[in-house]
């Protein structure tokens, strides 16, 4: 340890030498995750390797009065893994990446939280199994992070979010106690912890469900001359009883950006919307399901329809979707990805309004989204160096989230609240709602030292004295206030 260490002694002694770093470069590179707006260099970064080491660290933090934030690969899009503040210890789980057990018959894997999502599926592949949740970051993001955020992904339309695949977990709670939670019927504390964004404790083990890998996959690409038609096709597919593995739409600007980039997938230029549908399962299942899908698509006068089960061709069709984020990132130096949800029946109307907001705020705005569950990802591309542009982008983002809530939706479908959307919570929740959320949190972490400032505003009085927050919730909730 350097002599001029700023670390309290208990923390310094909590891990073997060399596994807590506090040099300037280390502190700097951990100052934020994949959401760039708030940056806080941590006090130091710790690299534990076991549940016991995490517990020792957390207890040392408590003893020293220091807050902590856990982080996996730092791919969170809402600041969940950004250090809570300059006096916060960052607990990095990258060295906790082992598979502790993998049982093919029971289809259960127990892993450490630093394991990368895709690398669990890779390990399960020889048994014909995989881990279903597939956030776009799955090649990098860790399972601990996936659980903390309750990550989604294109295939969660059919298979459910991360929470539907968790059987149990081990948590070092806010008081430094090791808490093993199993998910039997009855009180589901485990389900409560999934999606709590690290504010209940630090995950140290995850017991996960693996599912059989489908033997047949078929991908369809349909392009339409209007976004409304694409959305109607989606509604028809969903109401036919067919449950595609994925239903994704790209809008005109996204198509153009993708086709101009290295991810060019041959999407028809001039189309207003491209719809990707994927069916998976057993051969005859997919064969049976393609008929209602084609019928739905054909009834909306598509410009072009392509269908393939060839792995290379499928990869090509998906390339544009998967590269869209990167392609948009190159349009302007800054990219701000939103994560609103609306009821699927309101997609077309909401998208039209979103386009209008982009035009009013003069911000380059494109949409790539999970159409099946109404999870929108408007991408705002801007150049923060131009005066006023960042502010306009933020204002557009705020208005879009408000719009989603007014349509009966939500401010986040899979990216989490983190730092990013705390101020937007009031669109959804009343002060009492937030007060209850705070109480639940303090059952796990009474002193609020676990990743403070995320999900809920800082401080015990959250929701109570903040007159800025609008009392009551949505009028559309039909809840009369006493």
């Amino acid at each position: 340890m350097p002599r001029e260490s700023r670390l309290p002694v208990p923390i310094r002694n909590a891990l073997p030498e060399g596994r807590i770093l506090e040099d300037p470069a280390t502190r700097l590179v951990y100052e934020y995750d994949a959401w760039s707006i708030v940056r806080n260099p941590p006090l130091a970064v710790a690299f534990p390797e076991s549940t016991a080491e995490v517990r020792n660290l957390v207890r040392a933090c408590i003893e020293s009065g220091v807050a902590w934030t856990a982080r996996g690969a730092g791919t969170c899009l809402s600041g969940g893994a950004t250090p809570s503040g300059g006096t916060c210890l960052l607990i990095e789980t990258s060295r906790m990446d082992r598979i502790l057990s993998l049982d093919p018959e029971d289809r259960i894997a127990v892993v450490q939280p630093g394991r990368i999502n895709l690398e669990l599926s890779r390990a399960a592949a020889p048994f014909g199994l995989h881990f279903a949740p597939d956030p776009s970051s799955q090649s990098a993001s860790t399972l601990g992070g996936n659980l903390a955020e309750n990550a989604g992904g294109p295939h969660c339309f059919k298979y459910g979010m991360t929470t539907d695949h968790v059987l149990g977990l081990t948590l070092v709670d806010g008081e430094g106690e090791v808490c093993r939670l199993h998910r039997d019927d009855g009180l589901d504390l485990c389900g409560l912890v999934v999606g709590s964004e690290g504010t209940f404790g630090v995950l140290t083990e995850c017991e996960l469900r693996l599912i059989p890998t489908p033997t047949a996959v078929r991908t369809f690409l349909a392009s339409f001359s209007s976004m409304e038609a694409a959305c109607r096709a989606v509604a028809k597919i969903v109401s036919s009883g067919t449950v595609p593995a994925a239903l994704e739409i790209l809008d005109r600007l996204s198509i153009e950006a993708v086709e101009a980039s290295v991810f060019a997938a041959g999407y028809p230029k001039g189309a207003d919307a491209v719809l990707l549908v994927e069916l998976d399962g057993e051969e005859d299942e997919v064969e049976a399901e393609r008929i209602p899908v084609l019928r739905a698509v054909q009834s909306e006068a598509p410009l072009e329809v392509e269908e393939t089960s060839d792995p290379e061709q499928r990869a090509r069709l998906w390339r544009g979707r998967k590269g869209a984020f990167g392609a948009m990132g190159r349009l302007k130096p800054d990219l701000f990805v939103l994560d609103g949800v609306v009821p699927p029946s309101k997609l077309a109307a909401v998208l039209a309004e979103i386009t209008a907001i982009g035009r009013e705020q003069d911000i380059l705005l494109s949409n790539v989204f999970h159409a099946g569950d109404g999870n929108l990802h408007p991408n705002l591309s801007f150049d923060g160096r131009n005066p006023g542009e960042r502010e306009r982008a933020m204002e557009a983002g705020r208005r879009i989230l408000k719009l989603c809530v007014d349509a009966g939706g939500s401010i986040s479908g899979e990216h989490g609240i983190g730092f990013e959307k705390i101020e937007h919570l009031s669109y959804l929740f009343s002060p009492t709602d937030l007060e209850i959320l705070g109480e639940v949190r303090r059952c796990f972490d009474p002193a609020e030292r676990c990743n403070p400032g995320k999900v809920l505003p800082l401080g015990r009085a959250c929701g109570e004295g903040s007159s800025a927050r609008r009392p009551g919730i949505l009028p559309s909730r039909e809840r009369e206030d006493p």
């Binding site: 039997d184 999606g195 005859d284 959307k421 959320l437 059952c443």
Partner: protein
């Protein structure tokens, strides 16, 4: 026994609970109280509330596959309306539960054949409005199928046994009714033999609608539910070696199966690979069902014969129990004081720490 009160809306319910809390009473909120006497004893109660007046659809959006319900709506009327629209509720079949309220069903969260993965009861609740044990009205979640705003309090409600809150409005996820549904059964077999068939089908069928090992004392059978496109379902049925006993809506609602219902009082989860030794430990003494992923609900003749892990209230480690008790205290307030009981195993000595 105090006579029950029937609040007609959330405000009344909140006022009653607030008042009760101020007077130091002990309250129990039920749907229609059809499950009185089941589950952990709620303890001495002097304020009984029933939500059967808060009933019916408050919102119905078939195009989005969601709806809002009063908690007093019965499963029977709910499923009736859905099937008229070609829709369905993913979990089930809940045998003999048509008169039960949805609020009660979710609060209890009994094991059921289809209730695994995404079709688990706890994944159906997208949001709610509720009153806690101090009379505070609050809401959580939302109306859309994908939503991570705020903590997932829906998980806290489903399976809480009415000990943490009383729900006044439920937001539920629906699915389109599958075009073809079949229920198939094996013959009655010796339990271990049936378990062999069950395990083999379990390996062969990646996505059945349900696959139960049905126990009836000294005999057992396998019940398989298939749902989906016609050609696929027929193909699977043919390959299963079981015979079809019900089709369509009847099969979906649990008709044509055995008389053995899901949701028995002794509950837990057994690893499918260990089902053989589990059956042996039961010694032909149980009636009930073991579902696809090993969750079970059984009626057991001599509970003392059960392996200790499955006897009595669930066991919760001290740290988890501490959190559960805090939730009970802060949120639950005066609600069902006896519910949420669990065994707390003796804490292990903390090795790592001591040695240092």
């Amino acid at each position: 026994m105090t006579s029950p009160l029937f609040p007609g809306d959330p405000v009344e319910l909140a006022d009653l609970l607030k008042e009760g809390a101020a007077q130091g009473r002990k309250a129990f909120v039920a749907g229609r109280d059809s499950r009185a006497g089941f589950g952990a004893d709620p303890g001495p109660i002097d304020l009984r509330l029933r939500l059967e007046r808060m009933t019916g659809f408050l919102r119905f959006s078939p195009e989005d596959l969601t709806c809002s319900l009063g908690p007093g709506t019965t499963l029977g009327e709910f499923e009736e309306t859905l099937s008229e629209e070609g829709l369905a509720f993913a979990p089930g079949p809940f045998h003999g539960c048509r008169e039960r309220t949805l609020g009660g069903l979710l609060a209890e969260s009994p094991p059921n054949p289809r209730g695994f993965d995404r079709a688990h009861l706890r994944s159906q609740c997208l949001g709610f409005e509720a009153v806690d044990g101090r009379g505070r009205r609050f809401a959580a979640g939302g109306r859309v199928v994908k939503n991570v705003a705020g903590y997932d309090l829906m998980k806290l409600f489903v399976g809480s046994g009415g000990a943490l809150m009383a729900v006044t409005r439920l937001e539920l996820r629906l699915i389109a009714l599958p075009p073809v549904i079949l229920c198939l059964r094996s013959d009655w077999l010796p339990p271990l033999e049936a378990a062999g068939v069950w395990r083999k089908l379990r390996r062969r069928l990646p996505t059945p609608s349900w696959l139960d090992l049905v126990l009836d004392g000294g005999r057992a059978c396998v019940e398989l539910g298939l749902a989906g496109a016609a050609s696929h379902v027929t193909e699977l049925a043919r390959g299963s070696g079981l015979r079809t006993v019900a089709e369509g809506l009847e099969a979906w609602r649990g008709g044509g199966g055995t008389e053995i219902p899901a949701g028995g009082e002794v509950r837990g989860r057994v690893r499918p690979s260990e089902v053989g030794s589990f059956l042996e430990s039961l010694g032909g003494n149980a009636r009930g069902r073991i579902h696809y992923q090993g969750a079970f609900g059984l009626e057991v003749g001599y509970p003392d014969s059960l392996p200790p892990a499955f006897r009595g209230p669930p066991s919760l480690e001290p740290a988890a129990a501490k959190i559960a008790l805090r939730l009970k205290d802060r949120l639950g307030g005066i609600l069902a004081p006896g519910r949420l009981s669990f065994r707390i195993p003796r804490p292990l000595p903390e090795r790592g720490r001591r040695v240092r």
